[in-house]
Symmetry: C2
Subunit: 463 residues, 2 copies
């Protein structure tokens, strides 16, 4: 009868806490995320991408095949159910050699990104798919990172990829979708920085430094933050030939792609094809693009173009990124399928703009119905159900019978803009009262006129 | 240049397999699931429910607080990152006491349902919420069950709950949403079986069998499968008084709620309030409802009405279920909040009807654009982008430049109904060719007329 009065109870208490680094999504933040996702999903579909959803659980063997040692530390492992000690190595157990034991007491983990699951999927379904195969995937991923401000252990990724083509048109399409995506999200103050890993590979190979690719790229990559001078100093400290150092110094000074041409620092074919890609991207309408000669984006599976999107004037780092990976599926199948794609870092993006962005609030409930007399509940309910079927966008909750004063307090706390008041007089007369919760003004309407009234009145208002 | 010819490579191969009991979702099955989800989401919203998304990872302490011993075996535990042996009990380690160790080397697990996360959320945000609080939540859950046909370790749940009210109108609303939900999914051949656990509690308490609640309910619950005679035999084998056995026998013979009234088997108040609930539900429009005197639905947190939906004539078991739980949050907070809700078992439902149900295929790509001349790619792309912005429901992929014959083969394998053919003649003349992939018929149209042509022509066709 009465509305859920909370009552004090005594029992063993468990604190309602979450593990570090994860969070609940609700209210405005969730509304923004859902709106972002729906905008991007519409964009992907309009370009012919089809959806895929893969399980959170993958075999450790699959996860560990592509990410390398560093990332393997960041994979959450799922303990075997039942007696997990059954097949452990005795020596490792006694020595508490946790590194070895980790892969003996667990054979599954949580997915770390959406690219390796895609490669596994494509390898498995190779003969059923027609290439170029465009797929998008919007699902959470998990990383056992040290939780810190703005860095979470569970976050939503929003990937789109084209597999089975090496054509530069596919690379340009990926860049165009990033450009169009940010425009559609209403974030026009961004830049797409782009590079081709083959330029750096050429450079280091010509310097005889291929084996130091990772080290040197890490140093070069800092130039934005620490400046040319510091990078030069760090390079001097590496034990490399003076010729190699000179070449790297010259690369550091390059401002435009034109200057790379004929410089002898990198292969002409690499420069030419990268310049052609940038030109093609611009001609498709990608305006916010800038070459960053030092962009590498991790060092695992990318083999050509790499790209990253940054919001201008906000210290949030990269909010999207991707590139070409032409050898990803070869681990999983005898057929290799080249691919290119990128990922929107939805959660980071939402966190950056949640307080300022305006999105349609699709969850704001339009009205709460207050039934004065319990006997009338069914009749009111049936009327409201009719509205719900006829106006799919209408959101009306019917309160359980309670006193008017309390009902208005509930609706007020929920921020619901209209109350609909029904007593026996209203029902018999076919004239219901609609009360504006903000102003207290009331209008009397026939029930069938109410849905249009609510939708029309609320259209102009912000949530 | 060429379209991704797969090339044979040699490398250490990892089989592209999934762990047992999980699966990829794509194609028709995913389209059906998404359509079901969107129908239910629209329904929940129209009744004033707001969305919530909780993390996959919960603290073991939270997960283990409510489910009890049996379910705790089914929880996937996440191994500590780093040296998980650091804080283990030495004795347990040497004895390989895996039951004790499991909670020492892991303190997080994957959520097992969406109800306990809701209770944790409500306990944590009690003061910010206005009650009655309606929330819906559509997310996967994980259970370490033995994988078998039709039973998965990761599956989607679709929950809706009303918290903070004990009123019977809330229980009736839950039943109404189940009824309306199945109608909206186009599945009208179902039944909602419903019971009130207080009837059974009364019965067993009057028989002095409260301590045997679980055992006796398990026996009674089999009556549908094995019949009254076998159940009677099993009851005879239990060491209970002959009076108690007689009472249970009489309960077994009850056909209608009316017969319970005045029978002395259960409290009059319990029968009255349950009858009132059924009457209210029917008067709201819940037609497919049937009392099952033996329905218990697990034995953990339900305290009143319990319900379950079954598809008639299909051996798929329960496809939705729920009930009232009036003490769920007391574990997590000093405030107890009563609640009632239910869950649609979306995946099981999809599996049951995927081959027969008709859903709008929102992913079928409408057309593939074939560009004859690489030089024309940008111009064609810009035209197609204009369509994409003007017609948000249009889905057109632009193929990377390739020979016509190959392009048509690709579109054919993908099942894309139209090809749009563009060469320099078409572009300069403003007359593009649209080819029906099924019949081979071609029409010539101005590019701006193509989107409407595609949408109109495809409207009548099935995917």
């Amino acid at each position: 009868m009465l509305v859920g009065k909370a009552s004090v109870v005594r029992a063993r208490r468990v604190e309602p806490l979450l593990p570090a680094g994860v969070r609940d999504w609700f209210g405005r933040r969730l509304a923004v995320r859902r709106w972002f996702v729906s905008q991007l999903e519409t964009l992907f579909r309009s370009c012919g991408y089809v959806p895929l959803e893969t399980p959170a659980l993958e075999r450790l063997e699959v996860l560990l095949a592509k990410y390398g040692e560093e990332a393997s530390k960041l994979i959450f492992r799922i303990l075997h159910s039942g007696d997990f000690t059954e097949h452990v190595d005795e020596g490792a157990w006694l020595a508490k050699d946790w590194r070895r034991l980790a892969n003996q007491i667990a054979d599954k983990g949580l997915r770390y990104d959406l690219t390796v699951p895609l490669a596994r999927f494509v390898a498995r379904h190779y003969h059923e798919l027609a290439f170029p195969f465009r797929r998008y995937q919007i699902q959470p991923v998990w990383r056992a990172e040290r939780p810190q401000r703005g860095r979470f252990r569970e976050f939503l990724q929003c990937d789109f990829d084209i597999l089975g083509t090496e054509s530069e048109e596919a690379d340009a399409e990926v860049l165009w979708i990033l450009e169009e995506g940010f425009q559609r999200l209403g974030l026009s103050d961004f830049e797409i920085v782009v590079n081709d890993r083959r330029l750096l590979e050429d450079l280091l190979s010509r310097c005889g430094l291929s084996s130091l690719f990772q080290t040197v790229c890490t140093v070069l990559d800092k130039v934005d933050k620490v400046g040319v001078r510091v990078v030069r100093e760090e390079l001097e400290r590496l034990s490399i030939s003076s010729e190699a150092r000179d070449a790297l110094f010259r690369y550091l000074e390059v401002g435009h792609l034109e200057e790379l041409r004929g410089s002898g620092l990198v292969g002409e074919a690499s420069v030419e094809s990268f310049m052609a890609l940038l030109e093609l991207a611009r001609s498709l309408g990608v305006e916010h693009i800038r070459w960053d000669p030092f962009l590498v984006r991790g060092l695992d599976y990318y083999t050509g173009m790499v790209c990253e999107v940054r919001l201008v004037g906000r210290g949030v780092g990269s909010v999207a990124g991707g590139g070409r990976y032409d050898r990803l599926t070869e681990t999983f199948s005898e057929w290799n399928v080249p691919g290119v794609g990128a990922s929107f870092g939805i959660d980071r993006l939402v966190d950056a703009v949640v307080d300022e962005v305006e999105v349609p609030d699709e969850w704001q409930v339009h009205a709460g119905v207050v039934v004065f007399d319990r006997e009338l509940f069914s009749e009111v309910w049936r009327e409201v159900s009719g509205w719900r079927r006829a106006y799919l966008g209408l959101r009306v909750e019917v309160l359980p019978p309670m006193r008017l004063k309390k009902a208005l307090r509930v609706l007020d706390k929920k921020g619901i803009p209209f109350a609909i008041l029904c007593g026996s007089e209203e029902l018999s007369g076919g004239r219901w009262t609609v009360r504006d919760m903000r102003t207290g003004e009331q209008v009397v309407l026939s029930p069938e006129a109410i849905p249009e009234y609510l939708l029309k009145t609320l259209k102009g208002r912000k949530a």
